[in-house]
């Protein structure tokens, strides 16, 4: 049959993509790009271009060559125009880790557990250096492998910066080395099967390749698949079909006709032409487990059934034709019955298995094919070795670097993975019959494999292939690489947030989402304030003023008569029935009490006291990190330190829960309600069956959070939060009063804040009995509400901010310090283990500076509201005279960094806006919070490579503007 030739541009396609090179060894370097410009220069350098071979060139030589590929976050890091990046398809943009649930990587295979930096947004590029040896061997010896790797090392040394060991402008986050296994002249994978036989037959200009293509009808010949199934810019199968029906004749398989008028389309076409998407997965193979269960001796045939080929490569469906045969198609009953439907090779490429009509060809398969370029890593254990060596097998890991190329990740790699390997849908099976070789057995505890419908199934199989990491990359053509280098544009990370500013609409805009409407840089320069009016549907309007200049913030906070905080007072009164210090008018008595309480919160030996307070929690955090190499920043660290303060410093250590820790309102909240009594009975009576978990600590934190939300965060006056807080504080106050009354009976043993408050109110103010209980309770509540969630948010915000500046805590800190060499020196000394008191004091000072900077970028309270109840005149620091209307809202904007105006050095007297004593937050807990944040940073600095976990769990999540979850990982 005459096949229309496809003119693909072999001199522009990277080598080893569309046609396999005879690679024997590879090393994969996973890079984070730290300086885009320098990295772009590297991409243009002669040395790099010398080894970046095209498909055409690679034919002509042995020796070393390389491939380069970029992840989506890598293209972002290089600063390619956003509109261009927006053209990339969703799967590539999201990355493998974020698609994990969808394609079936969950449980122990989930990205949270992946090795090193795999799956995180830090993996920007992958350079693979390959080695093609001069001669072939029937079996590569250990020595030969080492020689090949050394040869690759030489090339790498030639390419990289000698100090960093990575290309200029980047760091190497991981290196993986791999070598082809040869045994008896065949390429093997670790289980012992001959590998790499079946590849798609692509219309790439080379004819006469057997099997692996497509069949348009059952008894037709194998034809090549469209090049556009694997290369971007060319017509794929669907487009060819379309052209065929449109013209009613077979058209050559060429470039997609493009509307080059549209500059964006033209640019994207140019960028992606001759490129391909590369899917990388590190798959670890449990050879001992596999061979023990199904590989040895009499069970040998079970392993072959699971694979669908014999160990030597012979297809089970067609054993007559030998071990390299690939022309079979499962087209007749005999082939079908010989090869199990659920076997690996049949699922991964079902050929005619899915054809429905007697005439049908492979139409249902043609759009789901991939070119495989995998290569094994780790020592090979020959099939005939004795069981002793099976025991040694566990000492080192082995597996395969799965690599495949395709033009549409979601309908090729992902489709095969989700629908054919990890699901039984295509077999119309209701039980989880996953691929016996590389399916995720998480949903299949019985470990079933059924070879034939009339044969008894095997049970008890495990999962023998585990995902250890992976990413979606884009492998551009040579021209594409040059274009990327040309388009590279270093971006200031702080500028990234700055979105298009929208006009404020008085009827529909949200006055608290001012980031959408104001460029804060504009607030810091020029007139220094912005005024909006919000209007309701009856035409009543209310002015909102926004200030960000530190001098103005200071003046506003210091004019409580003009700018009141009545709203705090009303919610505090409503919830607790009494005033707090914060809500009282400024009188002599208030100032005296404030002074007394200030002393209690800042006692002699504060540092030692705090250290002792947090000690056990910090030890526990260290232990967890050590043991699991992962921790939740929010629940595991940020919420725990304030809890330790409540228990060990404030002395609220046991609210006397008897039996089951239990707060009905907390149960209601779990179901999204505020009132336990109104829950449906089945939820009320057995909340645990619906995922409700709590304990004494969680309940206490819940109560405090509910109160906090209503008093400080409910600027929208949401009824749900009002009711929740009312019900929660009723429970809390009852418990607190019982608890304090109990403490009054006891002789004061420990010098906790609680006992000192009792003494203070008794001796200085003469309170007795119930009055004393209430006074102490009110103060304690104020401390707890003011210092728990703010401190937790402070910890979470500071640490996540540091992590956006580097690949781990340490590099983030050093990058934030920029050119501040003295501070860097202090930090370095401390990290090297200098824990003398001087070093501690100095490092604390450095960290304080860092914390301030981070809180400027992501403040605990980005907006602080004040009410100008009666109206009045205010003169700004820019000497503007404002006659502020009665009822106006004045918003202090502490997040001042969205513009280009982050000043790393801030005068000390202005720092306090970030975590201020005067602001309602952290009323008197500023130094406690600072201590907690420092402690959290320090404990994380003790571990190497602390970073966000890969995938969705590592992304910082908030609920009600409070931190909710962010999983951190450490180690390798």
């Amino acid at each position: 049959m005459d096949i229309p030739k496809c003119e693909i541009q072999l001199n522009d396609i990277q080598g080893h993509v569309i046609r396999g090179a005879k690679v024997a060894a590879s090393k994969f370097y996973f890079l984070v790009i730290t300086e885009p410009k320098a990295f772009a220069d590297f991409l243009k350098s002669e040395g790099f271009l010398k080894y970046l071979a095209s498909e055409q060139k690679i034919r002509e030589r042995s020796g070393a060559f390389l491939n380069i590929a970029f992840s989506f976050s890598g293209l972002e890091a290089l600063g390619l125009p956003g509109k261009l990046l927006g053209q990339f398809p969703p799967a590539f943009r999201e990355g493998m880790a974020n698609r994990s649930e969808f394609i079936g990587d969950f449980g122990s295979d989930g990205p949270t557990n992946w090795q090193g930096y795999f799956g995180t947004a830090y993996i920007h590029a992958m350079i693979a250096v390959h080695w093609i040896p001069d001669s072939r061997s029937d079996c590569w010896s250990e020595e030969q492998c080492q020689q090949h790797w050394h040869a690759i090392d030489d090339v790498w040394r030639f390419l990289v910066d000698p100090i960093s060991g990575a290309p200029a402008g980047s760091h190497c986050l991981a290196m993986e080395q791999a070598h082809v296994i040869r045994e008896g002249g065949k390429i093997k994978e670790h289980f012992g099967f001959t590998d790499g036989i079946s590849q798609p037959y692509v219309n790439d200009g080379v004819t006469c390749r057997s099997g692996g293509g497509k069949k348009t009808e059952r008894n037709g010949e194998w034809q090549p698949l469209a090049a556009g199934e694997f290369l971007l810019g060319y017509c794929d199968e669907l487009q060819l079909n379309h052209k065929r029906t449109a013209n009613n004749e077979i058209v050559p398989d060429t470039l997609i006709p493009r509307d080059m008028e549209n500059p964006l389309d033209a640019a994207f076409f140019e960028l992606t032409l001759n490129g391909s998407y590369m899917v990388y997965r590190k798959l670890e193979q449990d050879v001992a487990g596999f061979r023990k269960a199904c590989g040895d001796g009499e069970h040998g045939s079970l392993a072959e059934k699971m694979v669908g080929r014999r160990y030597d490569g012979t297809p089970l469906s067609f054993p007559e034709y030998g071990d390299k045969y690939n022309e079979f198609d499962y087209g007749d009953e005999e082939q079908k019955s010989r090869c199990p439907f659920t076997s690996h090779v049949r699922r991964a490429n079902p050929r005619l298995s899915l054809a429905e009509g007697p005439e049908d060809g492979t139409q249902l398969v043609d759009q789901h094919r991939i070119i495989r370029r995998g290569i094994s890593y780790g020592n090979y254990i020959p099939m005939n070795s004795n069981t002793d060596s099976h025991q040694n097998m566990n000492e080192s890991s082995r597996g395969i670097h799965f690599i495949c190329y395709n033009a549409r990740i979601d309908s090729q790699f992902e489709f095969i993975q989700k629908h054919w390997l990890n699901s039984s849908d295509f077999m119309a099976s209701a039980s989880p019959v996953v691929d016996p070789i590389c399916g995720n057995r998480h949903q299949d505890p019985l470990g079933m494999f059924a070879a034939r419908a009339d044969e008894e199934p095997v049970f008890g199989l495990q999962q023998y292939v585990h995902v250890k990491g992976g990413e979606y990359f884009f492998t551009p053509g040579l021209h594409g690489v040059a274009l990327i280098a040309r388009l590279t544009n270093a971006i200031d990370p702080l500028l990234r947030d700055r979105n298009n500013i929208e006009l404020f609409d008085s009827l529909n805009s949200d006055p608290l989402q001012i980031e959408k409407h104001i460029d804060p840089a504009q607030l810091l320069t020029g007139k220094g304030y912005v005024k909006f009016e919000i209007e309701d549907d009856r035409g009543h309007s209310r002015p909102y003023y926004y200030f960000a200049k530190p001098e103005d913030l200071d003046a506003i906070l210091n004019a409580p008569d003009l700018f009141t905080n009545d709203h705090y007072r009303s919610s505090i009164m409503a919830l607790t029935g009494r005033d707090m210090l914060l809500s009282r008018p400024v009188t002599k008595e208030r100032e005296a009490l404030k002074k007394h309480l200030g002393v209690l919160m800042n006692p002699a030996g504060f540092s030692d006291l705090m250290q002792a307070t947090l000690e056990s929690e910090l030890t526990e955090i260290s232990r967890q990190l050590q043991e699991n190499q992962s921790i939740d920043l929010v629940e595991g660290i940020a919420r725990r330190l304030p809890l330790a303060v409540i228990k060990n410093f404030f002395g609220v250590d046991n609210l006397g829960f008897s039996g089951e820790p239990y707060s009905p309102t907390e149960v209601a909240f779990h179901f999204g309600c505020t009132d336990f009594a109104r829950l449906p009975s089945r939820w009320k009576h057995n909340p645990k069956a619906f995922g409700f978990v709590s304990d004494q600590d969680k309940t206490l934190l819940f109560w405090i959070r509910a109160l906090f939300l209503e008093v400080f965060s409910n600027q929208y006056k949401i009824k749900f939060i009002q009711e929740l807080a009312a019900n929660a504080s009723r429970e809390l106050i009852q418990k607190m009063d019982q608890f304090i009354a109990g403490k009054m009976q006891e002789a004061a043993t420990s010098p906790s804040l609680l006992t000192q408050l009792l003494a203070l109110f008794q001796t200085e103010y003469g309170y007795q009995g119930e009055a004393l209980v209430k006074a102490v309770r009110q103060s304690l509540l104020e401390f707890m509400v003011g210092s728990t969630d703010t401190a937790a948010k402070g910890i979470a915000e500071v640490i996540r901010t540091i992590l956006t500046f580097g690949i781990d805590m340490q590099s983030g800190l050093f990058n934030l310090l920029k050119d501040d060499e003295p501070s860097k020196y202090v930090l370095k000394k401390w990290l090297e283990g200098d824990d003398s008191p001087e070093s501690q004091a100095m490092v604390d000072a450095v960290l304080n500076g860092i914390i301030i900077t981070c809180l400027r970028i992501n403040p605990v309270a980005p907006l602080i509201p004040r009410y100008c109840t009666h109206g009045g005149r205010f003169v700004t620091s820019g000497h503007e005279v404002l006659d502020i209307e009665p009822g106006a809202v004045v918003i202090l904007v502490t997040k001042v960094t969205l513009g280009a105006s982050l000043m790393y050095k801030l005068p000390v007297e202005q720092e306090r806006f970030l975590f201020t004593e005067n602001s309602p937050h952290a009323c008197m807990g500023r130094q406690i919070a600072m201590f907690e944040i420092r402690a959290a940073i320090k404990v994380l600095l003790k571990f190497k490579a602390v970073r966000p976990a890969a995938g969705p769990s590592g992304q910082y999540r908030e609920k009600y503007r409070l931190p909710e979850r962010m999983i951190l990982r450490c180690g390798t």
């Binding site: 969808f102 487009q239 379309h242 029906t245 309908s411």
Partner: protein, 193 residues
């Protein structure tokens, strides 16, 4: 060619909603208006399904539900289409393109802006759908992990099981060896489910 957002997922189940405008007037030389043509196609789908004759929609074996609504908003006639299906939106639309292209064309060919090459011209079709897609803000699926194929298989298994029970009860009082043999046979025949 591509959009940032896929549709809203819940587990393996996905959704799609598109609103398009029906062409005003009638095709050159025709008597039926575009609206009438469309109405006829939809009526035919409905009638065939209610009378038990399968429609081409069944060729796409991942569709749980699909509905078409013709709606007059005062000025124009709109065609609202919503569907729930297994897998990714991209794949779902490709299935339209490769499996039931003509049928799709018969419906949306009556709408403004539909690609001239019909839905086989996948890039144009994808653009068309993305332009008219209404993004869902909240999507609920009671059994997000279960595909249509699996549900069908479970139903089939339950039928087979009931048949087996009925047969055994009908024979009644037999010895356990025989029952065990029958049971093994049942397992063999049904283990794939």
């Amino acid at each position: 060619m591509f959009s940032a957002q896929d549709a809203r997922f819940s587990g393996g189940v996905n959704e799609l909603t598109i609103i398009t405008t029906v062409k005003p007037g009638r095709p050159p030389g025709a008597v039926f208006t575009y609206l009438q043509q469309l109405q006829t196609v939809l009526d035919s789908v409905r009638d065939r399904e209610t009378s038990g004759v399968p429609t081409p929609i069944r060729l796409v074996s991942t569709i749980h539900f699909a509905r078409w609504i013709l709606w007059n908003d005062g000025d124009t006639n709109k065609l609202i289409f919503t569907s729930n299906y297994d897998g990714s939106m991209w794949q779902y639309l490709r299935d339209f393109s490769s499996l039931i292209a003509e049928d799709m064309d018969r419906v949306w060919g009556n709408c403004v802006g539909y690609p001239e090459g019909g839905c086989r011209d996948f890039d144009a079709f994808w653009d068309y759908v993305k332009q008219h897609q209404v993004e869902t803000d909240c999507f609920f699926a009671a059994l997000p992990g279960e595909s249509l194929r699996q549900r069908e298989a479970l139903i089939e298994f339950k039928r087979a099981f009931d048949r087996f029970v009925a047969q055994q009860l009908a024979v009644g009082g037999q010895d356990t060896d025989n029952f065990y043999r029958q049971f093994c046979l049942f397992l063999k025949q049904n283990q794939f489910y």
